[in-house]
Symmetry: C2
Subunit: 204 residues, 2 copies
């Protein structure tokens, strides 16, 4: 495309490096910013730079934090004997919004994916083992919950973690897979439906 | 949502002010930037600020330009006697990419929309009349093509322009409406199909 100005072209090229944003959307966003007050572009740019340069990570669970420890790890009201293993901060936010979990987290920072060249050493796995074997809290870790997506990569990572953590003797579990609440049996895929029959739950 | 850090919260809030980007997408983009090199965020921010503060507009057609006049208005190879009236720069790019038009443009900068409080005085209509009545070029303007979307707002704007430009005596036309190339008659809406019959084109 022949952009009318070099400045627009550079902005579009930078915006379209973001995931899920193509050249057309990038141009729409650039033209939107051009129409608005200069102040909006300034505060957007500043917020991005501040976030990128000043954000720090929790020393314990590697979640994003404003301090040395995140709000969750530093809270005395959380159960420090359960650790839920997730891929990134978005998963922490998703589980927190259910209000069903009161333990701690461990953010791996990615998922094992040979196709993208991400191996176990790129993830925060050693520090997870250290948290189990040498707990900083007075309480020992009683359970590890793997909350990984039921995809090829998620299953590979879960399998690797199971093998790796076996020697610690800690109890391990995974989040339940099955038909989603409100989901229609008729439209469920065969694998999910099959798993939900195999892992059926007895009435009390 | 309880963001893990104030910096993330501010970035998400700024990103989600962009059109078509909600809080979830904004968070995804923010976390993406956090994972990448600091350099990427810096060059994105700089490109946005540069674009917003340094972009100028063509004095003649109000398209975005690096100079006093845009590339199109300053080109001697374009037909300066035809002006195509469009809403914004994206429309110029869309028409340019067809390679079917060799005249000039006039960017209105918006469309008449009482709902959004945009009236004729907010658009570049006076300068269009001036271009027709007192042409800067040696050639007089022979034809005005209205290339506005066939929506309520587009039709209102076209109607207003027709009335307003009538006194100049210039020839006016609109882009053809009809069944899109590759479109299926069966799935065309009644209004488009009806118009395409009324405005049928005789074989030569």
């Amino acid at each position: 495309m022949n952009y009318p100005s070099r400045l627009i072209e550079e902005a579009v090229s930078e915006i379209s490096r973001l995931p899920g944003i193509g050249k057309k959307t990038a141009l729409r966003l650039a033209l939107h910013l051009l129409k608005r007050e200069e102040e909006q572009t300034r505060s957007l740019s500043e917020a991005l730079i501040n976030m990128r340069t000043k954000t720090s990570y929790c020393e314990k669970c590697h979640n994003i934090a404003d301090d040395r420890l995140c709000n969750i790890c530093s809270s005395p009201r959380r159960d420090h004997s359960i650790i839920c293993v997730v891929v990134d901060t978005r998963d922490v936010l998703a589980i927190e919004s259910t209000n069903q979990y009161k333990g701690l987290y461990h953010v791996l920072g990615g998922i094992i994916s040979p196709l993208e060249g991400i191996g176990p050493s790129d993830l925060q796995i050693d520090s997870l083992i250290k948290r189990i074997e040498h707990p900083e809290d007075s309480e020992p870790v009683k359970e590890i919950i793997l909350a990984l997506s039921p995809t090829m990569e998620g299953d590979t990572t879960a399998f690797y973690l199971q093998k790796k953590l076996k020697s610690t003797g800690v109890k391990m579990s995974t989040i339940a897979r099955g038909i989603p609440i409100g989901g229609d049996l008729e439209y469920a895929d065969e694998i999910t439906l099959g798993r939900s029959i195999v892992s059926r739950v007895a009435y009390d």
